[in-house]
Symmetry: C2
Subunit: 652 residues, 2 copies
């Protein structure tokens, strides 16, 4: 802190100058490491950034076994210390989410185009096995597992391209199970191979737009049951659905519309109340089941099915049947199945992991992303063999679970058992449940996915994020669910590449009276140093941007020459590499060529503060050419300027 750099101790004070020179700090290469070491570190950072084996270090072997078992089966972590008071909380929250799971599950099976008669059983199954599996393997305490709207929608819409659920329900069911199996495989392998970062490529902006678009698509599909239309389009897009709705005005049924509007209003009101007063969470949690019971009673009492209101109708009841014999690996459908599995797998994984992380950070515990992927993947693999379609952690139910005070994954087991018992014994009652109420429940559930404040926030913060969001939204609405997603991801990645291809180069100036150098265009009290042009590159230097950097730096020098007439003539170009984290061979050649070309034009290029990797590579070039020696490498801009100024004085 007692450094006196920037003190230009000009004419006489040679003594001072020498002292300053001696205090100068050399740029040294980082301590040598073998290539193997470097590769090991890089691989570790890429695949094990959370260092999952840290806790095993220095433990006795027996403890290691216990820790290993607890890592694989998180249930072992909480079961030994489980208490009655914990069970009370879990029971309450388990029962609360059951009341939400039943109506939502029935509705979502419709979204996946599963005919209600199979759909309901399937939903019961999907709410039974997966939560059990998850409660053993999953590390989140709040996740409520089961079918979710978006994944159901995507699966339904993608499989419909290969099989017609109405004319060939058995084939459709086979495809659904097989896709679920593939989704599970994809999810588990992402976890096992520690490729969890792939879901990070779905940014918040992408998901916001995608969810909003999907919510609208889902809601539009409900117009069929909300309006009582019998012959509805099979397409999903905004345009065909709206045209179908307005071409079938003769099929609209006022009784259905009236009932739909009433129950939708009721559900939205309940939602509003719960959002205003989080303590009243049970209002919105209980509203769907209440609506189902109420509407079923109404239909039953008034025999409304004879007055244009369509009902679920006859149902088979029963427990989970093994379905691994229904998995279909026929080459005709394999393409569709794998594509569907991949898309639904990644989407449902994203939702599950995001929900798990959100509530983990609220309660301040950690969820291991890769571990979670393996749990969700295994859950779907097991699920596909026991008559379940794709399941994950649902946001709405997890929120209710959290608010109802769940403590461990046992609430999932409670839910699973309750759903099973309910459906086993009360199944016949659902015969009279009107489809219109299921539609209203879906709309009320997905409305929450349209997050207008988040979109506004994107607009305020970052225009490109907003564009990404908009593209995802419009793509889903007008092209297709999967293409909308692909376009948004493509734009997000292209944006990152563009930032690398066109990096920021800023001109730095000295903040008067200090040793601080900052962007001239940012800090108005920063001043140019006569005779010097100080540039900072703010990106890795690699093959994508060397051409640009060359052109840009040439332009900077020309502009500087044009401006700087009255001041000292430009002599040194200082390139601050502090913000250049990596460099590749093209980058190194670029620096070497730049230095040569500068020398040709009478300037000298000086580098400041190359970080570890960059310094290492420059040193390797030095071995060959000795281009960047002691007098063209400095640790700070201040030291470079002091040292070069004295050179300048000597030469004049």
């Amino acid at each position: 802190m007692e450094e006196a750099h920037g003190a230009d101790g000009n004419v006489e004070g040679t003594q001072v100058e020498i002292a300053v020179m001696e205090a100068m700090h050399k740029v040294v290469p980082p301590p040598p490491r073998s290539s193997l070491d470097k590769i090991k570190v890089r691989l570790k950072e890429t695949f094990f950034p959370d260092d999952p084996f840290r806790r095993f270090k220095g433990q006795p072997p027996k403890k290691k076994w216990i820790l290993g078992a607890q890592y694989l089966f998180p249930i072992l972590g909480w079961v030994p210390t489980y208490s009655l008071s914990l069970f009370k909380s879990d029971l309450v929250s388990g029962l609360t989410i059951t009341s939400l799971a039943i109506p939502q599950g029935i509705s979502y099976a419709q979204l996946a185009n599963l005919p209600p008669i199979i759909g309901l059983c399937l939903m019961a199954d999907s709410s039974f096995v997966p939560p059990l599996v998850y409660s053993i393997l999953g590390s989140s305490r709040d996740l409520a597992v089961g079918p979710v709207s978006i994944a159901s929608l995507i699966m339904g819409s993608m499989l419909r391209q290969a099989a017609n659920p109405r004319t060939d329900p058995y084939l459709f069911l086979q495809l659904a199970f097989t896709s679920t199996f593939f989704a599970g495989i994809v999810q588990a392998s992402l976890g096992i191979f520690r490729l969890g970062f792939i879901i990070d490529f779905l940014s918040k902006a992408t998901l916001t737009g995608f969810m909003a678009g999907a919510a609208i698509i889902v809601s539009l599909q409900q117009l069929k049951s909300m309006l009582g239309i019998v012959h509805f389009t099979k397409q999903m897009g905004l345009v065909p659905v709206m045209s179908s709705v307005f071409h079938k005005t003769d099929e609209w049924s006022w009784q259905t519309i009236l009932m739909g509007i009433c129950f939708l209003a009721l559900l939205l009101l309940a939602r509003h109340v719960s959002m205003r007063r989080p303590k009243l969470f049970w209002v919105s949690a209980g509203a769907p089941l209440t609506s189902v019971v109420l509407s079923t009673l109404l239909v039953f009492l008034f025999k409304a099915q004879n007055h244009g209101i369509s009902i679920i109708g006859q149902l088979k009841s029963g427990l989970n049947r093994l379905s691994w014999d229904k998995l279909l690996f026929d080459s005709t459908y394999l393409g569709t199945i794998m594509k569907t599995g991949l898309v639904t797998g990644i989407i449902s994984l994203t939702e599950g992991v995001a929900v798990g992380r959100t509530f983990a950070s609220l309660k301040d515990y950690r969820v291991d992303g890769n571990k979670e992927m393996m749990a969700i993947g295994l859950m779907n693999i097991v699920g596909s063999c026991t008559s379940c379609y794709v399941t994950t952690g649902a946001f709405s139910r997890s929120a209710v679970n959290h608010q109802a005070g769940c403590k461990t994954a046992l609430s999932n087991i409670v839910m699973s058992v309750t759903v099973m018992l309910t459906l086993l014994f009360l199944m016949p009652l659902f015969v009279y449940t009107p489809n219109v109420v299921l539609g209203a429940i879906i709309i009320a559930a997905v409305v929450g996915l349209i997050d207008v404040p988040a979109v506004y926030h994107l607009w305020k913060m970052d225009k490109i994020d907003f564009i990404v969001c908009l593209c995802a939204f419009l793509g889903v609405l007008f092209i297709s669910v999967q293409d909308g997603l692909a376009i948004a991801v493509g734009i997000s990645i292209f944006r990152i590449l563009l930032q690398i291809t066109r990096p920021n180069i800023v001109t730095l100036g000295n903040i008067t009276g200090t040793d601080i150098y900052r962007n001239l265009h940012h800090y108005i009290d920063a001043r140019r140093v006569p005779g010097f042009l100080i540039l900072a590159v703010e990106a890795p230097i690699n093959f994508t941007n060397t051409t640009y950097l060359n052109e840009r730096i040439t332009r900077c020098i020309e502009e500087e020459k044009a401006v700087d007439h009255h001041q000292a003539v430009l002599r040194f170009v200082i390139l601050d590499l502090s913000a250049v984290p990596t460099i590749d061979t093209s980058g190194v050649s670029f620096l070497v060529d730049l230095k040569k070309s500068m020398e040709k034009h009478g300037f000298e290029l000086v580098l400041v503060n190359p970080v570890g990797e960059v310094m290492e590579k420059l040193q390797r070039t030095n071995g060959v050419h000795n281009f960047f020696g002691v007098d063209s490498l400095y640790l700070t801009i201040g030291e470079a300027i002091i040292s070069l100024s004295s050179l300048l004085k000597e030469s004049t």
Copy 2:
């Protein structure tokens, strides 16, 4: 600058502290700019980094017209001042490259699978029109334009998938012209829409591997003529070619092999002499034509065609015919044509621009990349209508052109006219030219593309660049030319994304006795500051890395806590954002969440030196939450530590 943040100066040394505080500098947001301004700047940097309109600024209208015309037609720049002495140089170099262009052109037409009888005419045409067009539009003075080996090879191998050049030569010719047309369209549009940076994605490493692989593929194809095999495989890969060679040992002709080896040795010797002594460039420049003349004479004198040596045979002679009526836009072939056009267009563009830039930097003039693309694109569009296939600036001939002392693009015109005259009047002489000599010429030409020292340099400098190079090489050899290229580009891009997804986070320490903070693992004299953890993030913070950063920073804190027992307890985490050029909405939320979660654990998060864009976005968050106020934003690490240390003292 007189801001006194955090200064609650209560203890003894208040005077000193206040003095220090007064010297403290505030982080200010950059001067406000409208979104439109920012978008304008970004678009300019993306598409016009070289600022081509700069020279027009402040000029009178007439001058602007002249400059504009000179920009579009660089020929106008040098014709008015052209002199006899310049012409002398251009004539010599033009004649020198002619002697190289004729034998190479005949050979390359074979690579493109064009039967020699058409190929020779085509070659003559391709060496006539394109150089004329280029000399008008191109800005490089050294580029020698004509057919090149790699583009010929790719075109031949890709088109062969759609048409058989032996059974259906007319269709094949149509496809070749149409692909050339598409290649020209692609090239010109890249230039017009200023998307020239797309070719930057072909890194040096990719090209080194690709060129070496392609050179070997090309050489292998020459085994047909070198060994005199009649029934040769039509595939390109290493495996099928070698198996074909060793299954046809009965077709080997010793006369052909002997002749081939002799001439190949001659050519390689000439190449070696010229490389050793650059002044003797004419040795290797003249060797191919000498070989053709010599071998033709030998064949003619000894009637060698009757002794197992295959010759070119009967040729049509004639000038360029218009071929726009041969352009074929049939939907059956459109896919192949567009793919071929795209690949050959980009590859030949890369070669042309790279060669142009190399010689421009040697002679210290500028080549405008986008302008050059338009010139090469137009040259190919015109070429496709005048019986030419794809052409670009060839490295070998441009080097000879440069060494022979060319001054302007007139050497291209000289070459073009000479080639035409030669072929018009001397065509019948080529009837007796043996194919084996053409093979030897090709091998001698492409051997130079295998750049072993460059590969060794890649291995020394950067292991991943080496892997990229190796993948391109093996991909070309064992899969296919275009797939090898695609794989290498894919790996290069994936590597960049991975660097963003897994950015460097370094722990900084104070270099004793100074105000400098550097990486603890790099500078051994850097020391930890007790009570502080100073981290620097070296990448943009965005959706791809927030999860990782969160995990990594948590791990850093835990490691720090584990180490730091005897020292002061950890209280402040300083995040140096100097090397974070951009941030997106996910990044901002990450910082906000990180601050909250740190506070929960009893730490305080302090940010240092956010650059313009990052500061702007943090400020927008401040508008809502006031998260990053004056006491958690500092301009330098040193100032942050002084200010926070005093806080620490107060609290204890």
